[in-house]
Amino acid sequence: MCTSFKVDMFNAVHAFNATGVPAHTAGVADTFKAALYLVSATVDSTTTAYSSTGEVTGTNYTAGGVTVTFGTAPSSTSTTAFITPSASIVYTTVTLSTSFNAVLIYNSTQSNKAVSVHTFGAQTITAGTFTLTMPTNDSTNALLRLA
């Protein structure tokens, strides 16, 4: 498979069938968001779209989460295409008293369709800030990779 095609997939360049193909405006990126989920929630690779079921609730946390910034264009090295948010994902001055252990990244422009789920050790936040620092944006470490 052509590596350029993998990069194109990140950019929604190809549409093989009209069914379910969302509208895109040339030169305009979709908006992506990151929502946090409780330990008791079921979010994994079978998740197809954002749902408020099992999402954290608490002071200063807005249902749906926060916007994720993809300021750097998708790229490739060797045969791997990759992209990583260009800024940390930050939930500022929140209180999330019930343990959570997953973040869902989803496309809020395209019917909240799921992109990826990342799990981690259970956490709570008390009148504090939860910061998810992004990995290095390369073919080995990028948050999203197509190999």
């Binding site: 498979m1 009148a127 504090g128 197509l146 190999a147």
Partner: protein, 64 residues
């Protein structure tokens, strides 16, 4: 002296007990800071660096 956001609003850190910790495994590198007031947790912040990214495998199909 520094102010810390707590469940009771901004407080002088000299009035609080500070606890810090960290975790490093194959999945994440995490550090946290807590402030306690008379045995009550009044502030907890977490900074987490995810290590395990999501990899999709694109398989080239052959044409028979």
């Amino acid at each position: 002296m520094a102010l810390v956001t707590t469940i009771y609003g901004e407080m002088d850190d000299s009035l609080l007990e500070k606890k810090e910790g960290s975790l490093d495994n194959d999945n994440e590198t995490t550090s946290w800071v807590e402030y306690w007031l008379d045995g009550e947790l009044v502030h907890r912040s977490v900074n987490m660096a995810l290590k395990r990214s999501v990899v999709g495998t694109a398989i080239a199909a052959s044409i028979a």
